[in-house]
């Protein structure tokens, strides 16, 4: 899962990035509106966290620009004002949810999960595939009564595949959901993760789609 964080405050941005990354998501952090637009042009994101008060280009403008381009990425707004006006404006401009500063990191993550669920058309908070239960909130995988420990990257790959079960997920998409800009990427690292997944979860039927990526049947 790849998240674009648009926040100009150094310490808040750093905290949010660290906090959201702890939930096994990949976070790209930009500090102003212009950089946010560049990032959206370059990369496909699953979620965006947008602060409204930004240098160079206000958050609301970035949001309008995003929706004008037809980008439907779920956007969580961070507002510093407690007035409804800003929220109404933001929601009307295409935001999907908002939290007011100061907020709880747990809540932000929960809202991001909820936004993502809605975006992939999944009503249940727990994703089921055969006998495998994937709980994004606790980042736990249960097979029957047993917990299966997965690394954050393995978890992210599994979640993405499960959400798109039956459809092939491109390699690039899978890579971008586990590696941010700052990460160094090995050459056959995706294959290694998939290999581990297949070993840890024997009931998993991950098919390799030649020249494209992987598919969960």
């Amino acid at each position: 899962m790849r998240v674009l964080l648009i926040e100009d405050d150094e310490i808040l941005g750093d905290g949010l990035k660290a906090g959201v990354e702890q939930t096994s998501w990949v976070v790209d952090w930009v500090r102003d509106g212009d950089a946010a637009q560049l990032a959206f042009e370059r990369e496909t994101y699953d979620l965006a966290v947008l602060d409204l008060g930004l240098p160079k280009r206000p958050g609301i403008e970035v949001l309008r620009w995003l929706r004008r381009r037809g980008n439907e990425v779920p956007v969580l707004i961070l507002t510093a004002t407690d007035g409804v006006e800003d929220r109404v404006t933001a929601l009307d401009a295409g935001a999907d949810d908002y939290v007011a500063k100061p907020f709880d990191l747990d809540e932000v993550c929960a809202r991001l999960r909820a936004l993502h669920r809605r975006a992939v058309g999944c009503t249940s908070p727990v994703i089921r595939h055969r006998d495998i239960e994937i709980d994004p909130a606790t980042r736990s995988i249960t097979v029957g009564k047993f917990l299966v420990p997965l690394s954050p990257k393995e978890f992210a790959i599994l979640q993405l595949l499960a959400e798109n079960a039956g459809k092939p997920v491109p390699r690039r998409r899978l890579m971008s959901s586990i590696y941010g800009w700052d990460d160094e990427i090995g050459s056959n690292v995706l294959e290694v993760h998939v290999h581990h997944l297949r070993k840890k979860l024997p009931s998993l039927t991950v098919k390799t789609v030649r020249g494209l990526g992987y598919r969960l049947d």
């Binding site: 405050d9 310490i11 660290a18 240098p55 510093a80 100061p102 990191l105």
Partner: protein, 495 residues
């Protein structure tokens, strides 16, 4: 004193002021009329008496006149009882009311009415005259019959006439005196009615919610009050603007505080969740940095709030800016080291400004602090204090990215940050600098240097003992900012 009472008193006083002379002239007019009337009456009576006397004298029966006269004209001898009764009941005057003295020129005959004085009423003067005898003023008409050598003086107590005139006037004055209370009431009511639009206006303003700053309608107010309504409306507009900026300021202040708070909370939670010790240490370091950032913001907010409210009266003592600059530069040395920025101070020694040392310190601190934060790692900040004629110039240059020309004035707006900035400033530093400079009768301007970096220049009046401006309290000098030389920057070297 209420407008109503003042108006009533003015109207009433004015009416009385006119009323008194009107009645005086009325009295004088009545007196003149009475004089005319009674003079002719007196003259006629005298002529009749003299005609009687002449007739008697020609018949040689002058002596008998004494017996005859009372019978013929009782009114003259029991004088004026009926004539004067309507005017005065005082009997003591009646015997003086009408008198006559009939003399023969040789003194052989002398006939006086009962109440006539012994002394002659006139000295052979024909026509009208006055004479005071024994405290009684007489109006006298003398007439002579030269053929029979007879002289007749008809006299009348003059006081009686005054009484009569007074009586006449009284009949006019008393009704008008009676009219005074109703007049007062009418004036009172009329004034009340006249002031009604004003009262309505007062009511409208009084009943207003403190936040209701809508214009007052000038449709229903009288023309005279329109300027007042206009002035009130103008005040409302100004108030609204002030409130608006205050609301903005507090709103912005809250906004600016929420971000560091959010940062602190998030970092604390990251530390809580951290899976590695390294991660936890990092989050805690960030938390501390966040606390520092928040306290810096709170300090600046408080400074600005105090400067705005002018609750703290600025001290007014000679301050050597060069010393202040050196002290602040030393204070900020750790910050500069942290940012890997070198700070250099240079300048003249004779740079004295009249003002508040603490505030001027805050000014320099904000300038240098900003410069250090934006200079960039390995950069340099130069702080120069120089005297230039009437002004001391405090110039701070950095090696940072500078600010786009068009945005220089924007930078002084509160909570406004430069578009190219990545540093987490509060956006208040330059507002504080400008406010302090203005309070000291100076100003501030920004410019980009040719070789890159920002140059911020503050000018403050030099202190001269003979300067008149030194005598003025600092707070009054804010206005003089407009008069501060816009040309000052000309003296700065080209960046």
């Amino acid at each position: 004193m209420s407008l109503r009472r003042r108006l009533v008193l003015l109207f009433f006083g004015g009416t009385l002021l006119l009323w008194v002379p009107i009645n005086y002239f009325l009295y004088r007019g009545a007196l003149a009329e009475v004089d005319d009337l009674w003079d002719s009456h007196l003259a006629q009576s005298a002529r009749i008496l003299l005609a009687l006397a002449t007739a008697s004298a020609e018949r040689g029966e002058l002596e008998q006149l004494q017996d005859m006269l009372p019978r013929l004209v009782p009114a003259y001898l029991a004088p004026a009882d009926d004539l004067h009764r309507p005017f005065r009941a005082d009997e003591s005057h009646h015997k003086h009311a009408f008198v006559f003295q009939l003399h023969k020129r040789d003194g052989s005959f002398r006939l006086h009415s009962a109440s006539a004085p012994d002394e002659p009423l006139a000295n052979g003067v024909p026509g009208f005259s006055y004479r005071v005898i024994d405290g009684t003023a007489w109006r006298v008409f003398g007439i002579a019959d030269t053929k029979n050598a007879l002289i007749l003086y008809a006299g009348e107590d003059h006081a009686l006439r005054k009484d009569l005139a007074w009586h006449l006037v009284e009949h006019l004055v008393f009704p008008s005196l009676l009219a005074i209370p109703p007049l007062l009431l009418l004036i009172w009511l009329a004034v009340a009615k006249g002031l009604k639009p004003l009262a309505r206006l007062v009511q409208e303003v009084k009943q207003r919610d403190p936040n209701d700053l809508h214009r007052l309608s000038s449709d229903l107010v009288p023309v005279e009050v329109e300027p007042l309504v206009g002035a009130l409306n103008a005040l409302f507009v100004r108030l609204e603007r002030t409130l608006e900026s205050e609301r903005n300021f507090t709103g912005n202040a809250a906004h600016e505080l929420r971000t560091p708070l959010a940062a602190l909370r998030v970092q604390a939670q990251v530390a809580q969740w951290a899976t590695s010790d390294e991660q936890r240490q990092r989050a805690l370091r960030q938390t501390i940095a966040g606390v520092d950032q928040a306290s810096r913001l709170v300090d600046q907010l408080l400074t600005l709030a105090r400067l705005d409210s002018r609750q703290t009266t600025l001290a007014s003592a000679p301050v050597n800016l060069n010393e202040v600059a050196r002290r602040i530069a030393a204070d900020l040395e750790p910050l500069a080291r942290q940012h890997r920025v070198s700070v250099q101070v240079s300048g003249d020694t004779e740079t004295v400004t009249l003002g508040d040392e603490t505030c001027l310190g805050i000014l320099v601190r904000n300038l240098v602090d900003n410069a250090v934060r934006y200079a960039g790692s390995g950069g340099a900040v130069t702080l120069a204090v120089r005297r230039n004629g009437l002004f001391n110039l405090v110039t701070v240059r950095d090696t940072g990215p500078g600010i786009a020309e068009g945005e220089h004035s924007e930078m002084f707006r509160r909570f406004r940050r430069g578009k190219d900035t990545v540093s987490s400033g509060s956006g208040l530093g330059l507002s504080i600098v400008r406010r302090i400079a203005e309070l000291h009768g100076g100003g501030v301007k920004l410019a980009n240097q040719a070789r890159g970096g920002l140059c911020c220049e503050v000018w403050l009046p030099t202190f001269a003992r003979e300067a008149i401006s030194a005598a003025r309290p600092l707070s009054d000098r804010t206005d003089s900012v407009r008069n501060a030389p816009a040309s000052t920057p000309q003296t700065t070297p080209s960046f």
